[in-house]
Symmetry: D2
Subunit: 252 residues, 4 copies
Amino acid sequence: MFMNLKSVGIENLEYPIKVRRKDGGHQETVARVNLTAEMPNDYRGSCMAVFVGILNRFQDDISPGIFPELLAAVRTGLNAESARVEVSFPYFIEKPAPVTRTSGLMEYNCRFVGTSDRKNEFILSLWVPVTTLCPCSREISNAGAHNQRAMVNLNVKTRGLIWIEDMVAMIETCGSAPVYSLLKRPDEKFVTEQAYNNPVFVEDVVRQVAIKAGEREEITWFSVEAESFESIHNHNAYALVDSADLGGSTAG
Amino acid sequence: MFMNLKSVGIENLEYPIKVRRKDGGHQETVARVNLTAEMPNDYRGSCMAVFVGILNRFQDDISPGIFPELLAAVRTGLNAESARVEVSFPYFIEKPAPVTRTSGLMEYNCRFVGTSDRKNEFILSLWVPVTTLCPCSREISNAGAHNQRAMVNLNVKTRGLIWIEDMVAMIETCGSAPVYSLLKRPDEKFVTEQAYNNPVFVEDVVRQVAIKAGEREEITWFSVEAESFESIHNHNAYALVDSADLGGSTAG
Amino acid sequence: MFMNLKSVGIENLEYPIKVRRKDGGHQETVARVNLTAEMPNDYRGSCMAVFVGILNRFQDDISPGIFPELLAAVRTGLNAESARVEVSFPYFIEKPAPVTRTSGLMEYNCRFVGTSDRKNEFILSLWVPVTTLCPCSREISNAGAHNQRAMVNLNVKTRGLIWIEDMVAMIETCGSAPVYSLLKRPDEKFVTEQAYNNPVFVEDVVRQVAIKAGEREEITWFSVEAESFESIHNHNAYALVDSADLGGSTAG
Amino acid sequence: MFMNLKSVGIENLEYPIKVRRKDGGHQETVARVNLTAEMPNDYRGSCMAVFVGILNRFQDDISPGIFPELLAAVRTGLNAESARVEVSFPYFIEKPAPVTRTSGLMEYNCRFVGTSDRKNEFILSLWVPVTTLCPCSREISNAGAHNQRAMVNLNVKTRGLIWIEDMVAMIETCGSAPVYSLLKRPDEKFVTEQAYNNPVFVEDVVRQVAIKAGEREEITWFSVEAESFESIHNHNAYALVDSADLGGSTAG
């Protein structure tokens, strides 16, 4: 029986990396890295040192732009037909509070996934927390409305470069309100009222992100999901939409 | 150099158990078990089979009451000076929605910890989700108030028996509102308004639980903490109080 | 712009379930459940109570065979075009030690995933721990060989019924040695030597599972991956193969 | 009823920090931070902005030496009787392979915990992976011996400064062999044989670390535990010893 190994490699390697920032320079962070290659049937043995050696060469300048070269190094190093590299890391962006402009750092989990066989592909994934305030709860209640932290996960393929900073800013407009690391009293008043005036279900959040992603020329494919950590339940509300579902969008 | 091993044992053993219910009968659930014993300096080698063998004998009837016997079996089996058994498991309680009385199952994580050296000790730990609605946000905002799921963790030592069901019911009165697995529209209206009318900080939650625990004669020691998954932040608010801090309570 | 919501639903609901056993009767365990449905563009609002209500009706008899009915209930309940139900749970199997035949319970994580649109599909997923002993380390060293726990994950689609018990037994022959919950000294000697005499890389493990899965008529599709928690590294070795790669297998 | 809040604060704040290295300069990494303060009975409300503001001031130069000042800032900022700061982070150390000297980065999880009430206290915690090879398995088997990754956790209080680098080096001598991120074939042969020639139970590992920690004058208190991810089981072996158990050590 013949069969190719779809992938062989290493998982869960923690490594310090430097990620390029939109404003120039690099951000030092800590990544969890998976590196795999497609290998022929008779392949056996230790590719692990090769993978770690390659990672050593690239860790100091990680950006979407370096993936073609990184993947080529994996394919050459292992004489592999295809390769896949996943780099997941927290990325920090300075964000002023909405009223007092007091600045705090917000953490966003990101993932770069590059694959290379006949062609190169690259996916940027982002996890962005927002507040969701329930439209149903608001409508039926005499006062208040349940609200909660929700996590939005956007995955995009693009033509040309795309910045984490721009995608985060786009997503943060799609919940009931953004989430901050530091809020003073006037800020807390502002975001409470902002959320109350913008009630959304998780399905509204993903639709809104989808519309905005669909308007960006550089995005050629996307999927977006949102999970809301319901304050009235011990389980979560969930919604998903992807660009394949935009088929009829030209009629919109 | 002489030194006793404070503990030797096994960790993270997953095992099915049957837990006694307040209403009679047993609930079948899945536990994560740690078993350790204090051993003399020259001890080396495999106690693991002994531990698993003892667990096999007790798994079908787990309740606070069987811990003295279970711990004695560990001490005898290993000729140990002291023993410690930790059994963590999800426990389900049927809970009607507040208005429609529609019934759903709520999951509560529990832990039984028994220790035995010169005397036996037993701690019941419970994790109970509640809603917290921020008093500050409510006060300063024209409408609405941020709220979120929070997790309350109560740990108690008692004289005599205590039931998970009673501790859960006690804790669920101490947040802005309880959390449910199934709510219809009239129920959602009810809990939204209930939370809005009972704003609490995490520090209010733990104080309230502490007062109620302090009133129960059978509770001889407790600690309680609450962690609130803030809907306006990506980090959590936290508070802790324990019965040692009740020293001056007789003057209250 | 028109777009369907690919899925809307609930995630991370913990619920007690009863799973049918091969030997008759049921095993009570605790599941983490995700239920989602594909909904039209204009859909908004609370499907959560519907989902939990349906789960209440089916929780007492979970097996691959009930998924068509469960999925139909979700589609009808929400007037949805398609539905997806994921039920993940630990499942326990009694397993005698290889020499002394002392019996202990082994835990295997399982997942049932059913989807329904024009047709019904069902995937059984299993996570089975095994020992892997490194062939390279054995060959180059004067004595010993590094070995470790590895996790094998098999996913299968089948025609007709398939039992967890049979898949576990099949996978456990494909590592260097099986893993047990309870081993006495003669058993430990046996598995140590068995592992030393059966060195395997993770790529050998997945190939071996693939060959055995390919021989079973009832399996129409599979993928298998293995992750080895290397004892000489702080990261893991990984391999994946799926039945799509068996294209040329008739020539084998 | 009077009661002080033992602690109020924030948990799970992710923040980028710079940690001082032994060889000079700083390492940029990502921390998970908990900050709490002991507050009087009547305390209610939002300390969260104060905590984040203080963290902003200190994040660029984190070392054990700055904790007194950081804790004083928390106490002053909140007018608190006591304060506690926990900073957990991965720390990377370059480590050459034992034979070829090829260099790779190893990740060690670390935690700094500072508390301040009448006096300041500081605990350094480290998690260091090692290989453990089972003495029993080796003795009873004709060839080979089961071995696995184990995690050693050391917690120390010191007089004067202590470096992560020194504690890691000390712990890595106490297993059957150290763990590396990059090993070539001659290195793999070396560590396989090294482990086979140094069989240890987890209880041997913690005793060995305890002896070495006890010999260091600057260490005034410690506890050490080890958890071994047994390759023949799906659960773990565990041992713990602390310096309190060294009472009779002068007679040793």
